[in-house]
């Protein structure tokens, strides 16, 4: 007989966060989780049963102060910077574009070549996007349960399947292009090549993003750009060939880094057997979300580039002025999307604080306070987006764009669409953390459908800059539907939060 307080109720010795029990029921749960039954309570602690033991321990436990993990002072800024770190490779590419007039892709090439490269790039995002999200979901899950060996095995498996899928879709595209005379030879092969190599690069950067090592992606990108510059400036290779070689080098370097990091994290552990069926079952909504997200982001470009032009020599025409407006708006998107990560983390930090401060029966108060927190955060995000959007609009007209014409309506549409997309991503991050990916998939699927339908009609009845209307409508629907979904879940947040934690 111990005759004292069970050790499972004491605060952990390693200083990890701990909170005193809320009531006797909470103490019973903690005791049962540690294997203390009525028999054990009688035998080891001299109590009549587990409930008596809990009630006797409650008074002493309530007096122990809770231990919380406090965020550091620069927590918000750090999280914000982590949120925008995915864009560092993009920033490097933009710098190279300004400096050398070309980058890992793009540059001063013919209209046909630009169209082919653009098409390959978009296709790589859409096809690889699904795999990257599914892989990240499974990898983060196994990392979360400290099973790095299985996380590595899962990443390798998804990478293999993604590479096969990229190769297959590339071949299918070439066959389609030849059959329907979509892109002339050799532009169809250029598009397929960009699709394959960029798709592999996104997979590698996806793994590094999952490991929170985005600076290594930037290093690989810089190495790729360096190779392109060396090969092209020295006259060894034409620009497109140099870009292919640079991309191949960047991809190889990214995978080498991934290999080393995953191996280092794994140590000497052996992965557990995870069947493909389990992978598919758990990650199919994430896969769909990844593909649909990029479809939503890029479908307006595709619609704009494929507006029928009987005077043109090709089915795909790269629209430089349309792209310029979208690229300027992209800067705003990167600045805005960084806020989603700290806001999401702060929301859930607040949730645990509120949860600790309330008793188990006060779930109505819990829901009400979290609803207020959601809407307050949403308001702050909206305010931030409004400010950045207005600043961006003012700055855009002062940019030295040379001969490039800036399309005002396209710029407005892209800025508004991006802001709506960021708001939808804020909702999406909450829904994913509440384990509600299907709600996200439903919302984004409707958004993509609306984007395609509106953009198609607008471009075919109007002209190519009207494609941005589809983007605005698509992101608006995505934002509205995701807000509706999260509002619905917030009504019973206690249930969704605990079921997600389970």
């Amino acid at each position: 007989m111990h005759g004292s307080i069970p050790s499972c109720l004491a605060p952990p010795a390693d200083g990890t966060p701990w909170a005193p029990p809320l009531d006797a029921a909470d103490v019973v749960i903690r005791l049962e989780a540690a294997g203390v039954t009525d028999a054990v309570a009688r035998r080891d602690y001299g109590a009549q049963g587990i409930w008596n033991l809990a009630e006797s321990c409650l008074a002493s436990q309530s007096s122990i102060p809770s231990r919380r993990k406090k965020p550091p002072a620069a927590w918000f800024l750090g999280e914000y910077l982590k949120g925008v770190s995915f864009a560092v490779p993009l920033l490097l590419c933009s710098l190279a574009m300004i400096w050398f007039r070309y980058s890992l892709w793009g540059g001063n090439v013919s209209a046909d070549m630009a169209g082919a490269a653009g098409l390959g790039t978009i296709a790589s995002f859409i096809v690889a996007g699904g795999f990257v999200h599914a892989m990240a979901q499974r990898g983060l899950f196994f990392q979360g349960v400290l099973d790095n060996a299985t996380a590595e095995a899962v990443c390798r498996r998804w990478t293999r399947y993604a590479a096969a899928c990229l190769a297959l879709t590339g071949l299918l595209f070439v066959a389609f292009s030849r059959f329907y005379d979509f892109l002339a030879f050799p532009f169809d092969l250029v598009a397929a090549g960009f699709h394959l190599i960029l798709g592999l690069l996104w997979l590698g950067t996806g793994i590094l993003h999952m490991l929170e090592r985005n600076l290594w992606s930037a290093a690989a990108t810089a190495a790729g750009i360096l190779i392109v510059v060396l090969l092209h400036q020295s006259g060894i290779a034409a620009l497109v060939i140099a870009q292919f070689l640079g991309l191949a080098a960047a991809t190889a370097l990214t995978f080498a880094i991934c290999h080393v990091m995953l191996r280092r994290r794994r140590g000497k552990d052996t992965p557990r057997q995870v069947t493909l069926a389990a992978d598919i079952y758990y990650s199919w909504p994430h896969f769909l979300y990844g593909a649909l997200y990029y479809a939503l982001v890029f479908s307006d470009r595709l619609l704009s580039w494929t507006v029928p032009d009987t005077g043109s020599g090709t089915s795909v025409q790269f629209r430089g002025d349309y792209e310029t407006a979208l690229d300027i708006a992209l800067v705003g998107f990167i600045l805005q999307v960084g806020i989603v990560r700290p806001c999401g983390n702060r929301f859930f930090h607040h949730l645990s604080t509120v949860q600790d401060s309330l008793k188990a029966g006060e779930h109505i108060e819990f829901v009400s306070r979290m609803k207020r927190a959601y809407w307050a955060t949403s308001f702050r995000i909206t305010l931030f987006m409004l400010t950045t959007s207005v600043c961006l609009w003012i700055l855009a007209w002062r940019l030295p764009l040379g001969d490039v014409k800036l399309l005002p309506l396209t710029l407005i549409g892209a800025i508004v669409g991006n802001a709506l997309l960021v708001f939808a991503l804020w909702n999406t991050s909450l829904l994913f953390r509440l384990s509600q990916p299907v709600a996200v998939v439903n919302a984004i699927a409707i958004g993509v459908g609306a984007d395609l339908a509106t953009g198609y009609l607008a471009t075919r009845l109007g002209s190519y800059p009207d494609a941005v209307l589809g983007f605005v409508i698509g992101t608006l629907l995505f934002a509205l539907l995701s807000t509706f979904s999260i509002s619905k879940r917030l009504q019973s947040l206690d249930y969704y939060h605990f079921s997600a934690a389970a």
Binding site: L276, Y281, G313, L457, R460, L461
Partner: protein, 492 residues
């Protein structure tokens, strides 16, 4: 020849998918046990749908692959939702995906399931084929033999034989490029075929003719069988009707196409009046006012019905033998008719049409220009540029083009000039202005008056000859009567 055969295959497969496979998959409502009649019903619905969608989208200039695909997908989903099969499909999808997951878990079981599924599918298809009565194949064989003859004509004739066919080819091409010209009802139903096959309007018109002949033969068989109840008479109708449709002009026109639907309306009337009315509506959309050709084609089954009633006194064997002989005679007549078609004309040399087709295939879109009489426009519209020969000869002089510094100011890489060394002479070309059709068109007059045509080609030949003395001109094609000259006007 190889590319032509491949194009024919593409058209044939596209029509098979759109007018047979898709409607049969989505079919609902009254089902007849006769597979031919079921296929006929499917054709009526698919044809009417394609016609209405083609005309509607074409009216707004939206008859493009994206909107056409959306229309088909939307109608498929709506049709499945209406018949309650959408729910069954989602249940099937859930069951299949869980089956797939189980197969992923255990590859051995997965392989076994897959083998069992394939075996079931093969067995059901074989049962369907083995249950079909041999008699059902007779009209298909007859109509196919007739269409084989028309196919050989289509394969050997890149040019068209009537002015209406050139107009139809151009209308179809404009329609699928989202043009704003008023849609032509006689070609709107072929828009999805052209999109699925990925071919130009001219190629689709050229190769859909034999296939539509087969369908016309089958429709006549069904209509005649319905009217007479005699397979022998129906068999004769299946051969005679395509013959009547093509014998006058060598090509199936709007009258022939609308007759398919009229005949199917007669055939399906007893089993589905709604479909019969729909078929009639479709026929009116294709040809709003039926002409003598339509009456002649649709009249064939009625004529045979009268003959069949009159010959009921004869024994069945005699009637069957007579039907066989009549069928063979008709095929023979078609063969003779096909061989009697002129090698060139009536509007252009066959070599000119082949040269235009070759240029369209071999050169990149819109990087070239053809200077020729107007017929080539229908063959190349949307793929390259065209300039009337009359404009070309009127805007240049011999002195001008013979200067070494002279350059043709066309913003293309290659310019092809079609010259008739021996001007085409056919019955369609008139000797004087009084023979031209009203209203008077000066461009048409330039080519349709024999003397004018000869003068234009002579002047073009002189211009090229003068230009050749100081510039490089490549002979792209040449035979004793016709030549195509290639001039590189710009570097790529």
């Amino acid at each position: 020849m190889l590319w032509d055969s491949i194009d024919f295959l593409r058209v044939w497969l596209s029509m098979l998918v759109l007018f047979l496979a898709a409607p049969l998959c989505l079919a609902q409502g009254p089902h007849s046990g006769d597979p031919l009649l079921r296929a006929g019903l499917g054709f009526v619905r698919a044809c009417l749908f394609a016609e209405v969608v083609g005309l509607l989208l074409g009216y707004f200039g939206l008859c493009l692959p994206g909107s056409m695909t959306s229309a088909y997908l939307l109608s498929a989903v709506l049709s499945m939702w209406w018949s309650g099969r959408l729910y069954r499909l989602s249940s099937w999808w859930r069951a299949s995906s869980s089956q797939l997951l189980r197969s992923c878990e255990d590859p051995v079981t997965g392989r076994e399931d897959l083998t069992a599924c394939a075996a079931n599918l093969l067995e059901s298809r074989w049962r369907l084929l083995s249950e079909a009565r041999p008699a059902a194949w007779i009209p298909i064989v007859t109509a196919s033999a007739a269409s084989l003859i028309v196919f050989t004509v289509a394969l050997s004739h890149t040019r068209f034989l009537t002015a209406q066919t050139y107009t139809r080819a151009l209308s179809l091409q404009k329609l699928i490029l989202g043009g704003d010209s008023p849609p032509d009802g006689s070609v709107a139903f072929l828009a999805p075929v052209a999109m699925l096959a990925g071919l130009s309007g001219a190629t689709v018109i050229r190769f859909s003719n034999p296939i539509l002949c087969v369908i016309l033969g089958i429709a006549a068989f069904l209509a005649c069988r319905r009217l007479t109840g005699s397979r022998a008479a129906a068999w004769i109708a299946s051969g005679l009707t395509p013959l009547v449709a093509v014998v006058q002009q060598g090509e199936l026109q709007a009258a022939g196409v609308s007759s398919i639907l009229w005949l199917l309306a007669i055939a399906v009337w007893p089993i589905s009046r709604r479909d019969a009315v729909l078929a009639g509506a479709g026929a009116l959309l294709i040809q709003f006012i039926p002409d003598f050709g339509t009456l002649a084609i649709v009249g064939v089954p009625y004529g045979l019905t009268v003959l069949e009633r009159c010959s009921r006194w004869a024994p069945a064997t005699v009637r069957r033998a007579a039907a066989c002989i009549a069928g063979l005679l008709m095929l023979g007549m078609m063969q003779v008719t096909a061989h009697r078609l002129p090698a060139d004309g009536p509007f252009q040399y066959e070599a000119a049409a082949r040269a235009a087709d070759r240029i369209r295939r071999e050169f990149r879109t819109n990087t070239w220009l053809i200077i020729s009489p107007g017929q080539e426009v229908a063959l190349i519209y949307g793929r390259g540029w065209h300039l009337e020969l009359s404009n070309f000869v009127n805007s240049h002089t011999i002195e001008q083009v013979s200067l070494p510094g002279f350059r043709f100011q066309y913003p293309v890489v290659d310019t092809f000039i079609f010259v008739e060394k021996e001007p085409l002479v056919t019955d369609q070309l008139s000797l004087g202005l009084q023979y031209l059709r009203q209203p008077f068109d000066p461009v048409v007059a330039s080519y349709h008056l024999r003397l004018n045509r000869a003068s234009l080609h002579f002047r073009a030949a002189r211009l090229i000859s003068a230009y050749r003395q100081t510039h490089s001109v490549e002979t792209f094609y040449e035979d004793p009567r016709f030549a195509v000259f290639r001039i590189r006007t710009q570097s790529e």
